[in-house]
């Protein structure tokens, strides 16, 4: 049995404003084991970002317990690249917050850039790159921090469809190669099915787990493009749509 690295134990989270309080997450329990890719699927505005903020300890729950035993790496919907920094410096951003860059860091960034086909663009500025390349730069910026758990917050939703398929494929490969875990938050059902081992379908606000899907071995281990062609894909898809309705 693999170690549990994220554990939500009956978690509730409220927000207050002047006149009212709003329960965003109510009695939510789920877990992520080492080496897993877990998808959280729910309607827009369900409170998915709040869940990620709870995991990264930017927020604390009122009730329940959040246990996290992993170093986190974030991927956002927008690439959030800084226009005034070169690609090299953008990749190094996270590291440069933690400490001064060394010669070894520089070598590592260069090698990583070679692997992802961005080496020739290290001196470019973000505005000179396409959307898919920018998102890859964002991924490198995250991976350089050596996370053991990737938090993917709808990372593909601003990309065109083909770029998106390619990047899903690539990220899946990277996660498996590095033997790390990931939580992917999305409202795209097919993306959740092809990338993950397990899926939690969430309800609208207040957010809670409606149903958990454990994908069969075949689906879980297949690369996204193969999983999309798998005979069970349609079944899962239909079932999840029903649950969301």
């Amino acid at each position: 049995m693999n170690r549990t690295i994220v554990d939500f134990n009956h978690v509730s989270k409220k927000f207050f404003n002047k006149k009212s309080e709003m329960v965003v997450i109510s009695d939510m329990s789920f877990h992520v084991d080492e080496g897993e890719i877990v998808a959280l699927v729910g309607p827009s505005g369900a409170g998915k970002t709040t869940i990620l903020n709870l995991i990264s300890e930017l927020l604390v729950p009122e009730i329940g317990e959040v246990k996290v035993d992993a170093s986190l790496g974030y991927m956002f919907q927008k690439d959030n690249l800084f226009d005034w920094l070169t690609i090299y410096k953008n990749i190094a951003l996270g590291l440069s917050i933690k400490r001064k860059l060394t010669k070894d860091d520089q070598k590592e960034i260069e090698e990583m850039a070679k692997r992802y086909g961005l080496y020739d663009f290290l001196d470019y500025y973000p505005t000179q790159l396409s959307g898919g390349m920018r998102q890859k730069v964002a991924l490198m910026r995250t991976l350089l921090l050596k996370p053991s758990l990737l938090l993917l917050d709808e990372p593909f939703s601003s990309l065109d469809y083909i770029t998106r398929l390619d990047l899903e494929e690539e990220i899946f490969k990277i996660i498996k190669n590095l033997k790390i875990s990931a939580i992917i938050v999305t409202h795209d059902i097919s993306e959740a099915i092809v990338l993950s081992n397990r899926i939690y379908v969430l309800s609208a606000r207040p957010c809670t787990v409606k149903k958990e899907y454990i994908l069969n071995e075949d689906m879980a281990n297949a690369r996204p493009n193969d999983a999309r062609m798998n005979e069970h894909f349609q079944e899962y898809f239909k079932d999840i749509v029903e649950t969301l309705r």
Partner: protein
């Protein structure tokens, strides 16, 4: 019908021609204005006593240059403006940075800033000059009060206006408030800070001229004031024209500086 452009050479030629035409027309406008002014004044269409005329302004200008008076006055005003501009801008930005780091303090003093901003600062000028003295110091103080409040308010609102997502990202990377400031907030607002400086050039000049009106010891403001009091309108006009020219020069220097800084930034820093 316009001939279509087929080669790069033709395109460049057209561009040069356009650029030349624009500059040419700009010069023509000023030349015509002065020509009508001169002719109007000589033929009596324009009241020379109230508006003076270009030729007498020019003669006065030459006299002032020969006596060395002009440089003295111009230097006094430029010096006061530059110091006022520097203090107002730098202090204003520093205060805005402190308020960004301690937002609670901003919430507390917000209404006072609003009142200070709405208050015509020139109303404070006489008091300031009494407190600080009738020399350059008093005049610089007036100049600073004009630019500092608006610098604080606009810089602060630029600072808090940065993309919340990017702030969240830096936080997840473990950045503290100061790192968020130096890595994101300041570089993101580079262009905004330059535009604040541009606005402040104008404000610093207002402060200096008002100060010189009150103190009346030297500077272009003094020349204008003195000219008005003794009804020497050519002196007033000369002062105003010189002011316009210097303000334009300062503005252009900043523009060139900005372009230069952009260029050096564009150079790749990562050696392969």
């Amino acid at each position: 019908m316009k001939k279509s452009i087929t080669t790069l050479k033709e395109f460049q030629k057209r561009q040069r021609l356009d650029k030349f035409l624009i500059v040419f027309l700009r010069i023509i406008i000023v030349a015509l204005l002065f020509a009508f002014w001169e002719i109007g004044a000589r033929t009596g269409v324009i009241n020379e006593f109230l508006l003076s005329k270009p030729s007498s302004i020019w003669n006065l200008f030459i006299t002032y240059i020969k006596s060395g008076e002009l440089f003295k006055h111009v230097w006094i005003s430029v010096y006061e403006t530059l110091i006022g501009l520097a203090i107002g801008t730098i202090a204003g930005l520093l205060i805005a940075i402190l308020l960004y780091l301690f937002p609670k303090v901003y919430t507390i003093i917000d209404p006072y800033l609003v009142v200070l901003n709405a208050l015509p600062k020139t109303a404070l000028a006489p008091v300031l000059i009494i407190w600080i003295g009738t020399g350059a110091k008093g005049i610089i103080a007036v100049s600073v009060t004009l630019s500092i409040v608006v610098t604080i308010i606009s810089a602060y609102s630029y600072f808090v206006g940065v993309d919340k997502e990017k702030v969240r990202m830096l936080k997840t990377m473990g950045a503290n408030k100061f790192q968020i400031l130096t890595k994101l907030v300041l570089p993101q607002n580079y262009a905004n800070i330059v535009s604040i400086i541009k606005i402040n050039i104008g404000l610093a000049w207002v402060g200096v001229i008002v100060g010189e009106f009150l103190v009346s010891r030297g500077g272009i403001g003094y020349l204008v004031m003195y000219g008005g009091q003794v009804f020497k309108l050519d002196l007033v006009m000369m002062g105003v024209i010189i002011l316009a020219i210097i303000a334009f020069i300062m503005y252009e220097i900043l523009n060139i500086l900005e372009k230069y800084l952009k260029k050096t930034k564009r150079r790749g820093k990562h050696e392969k």
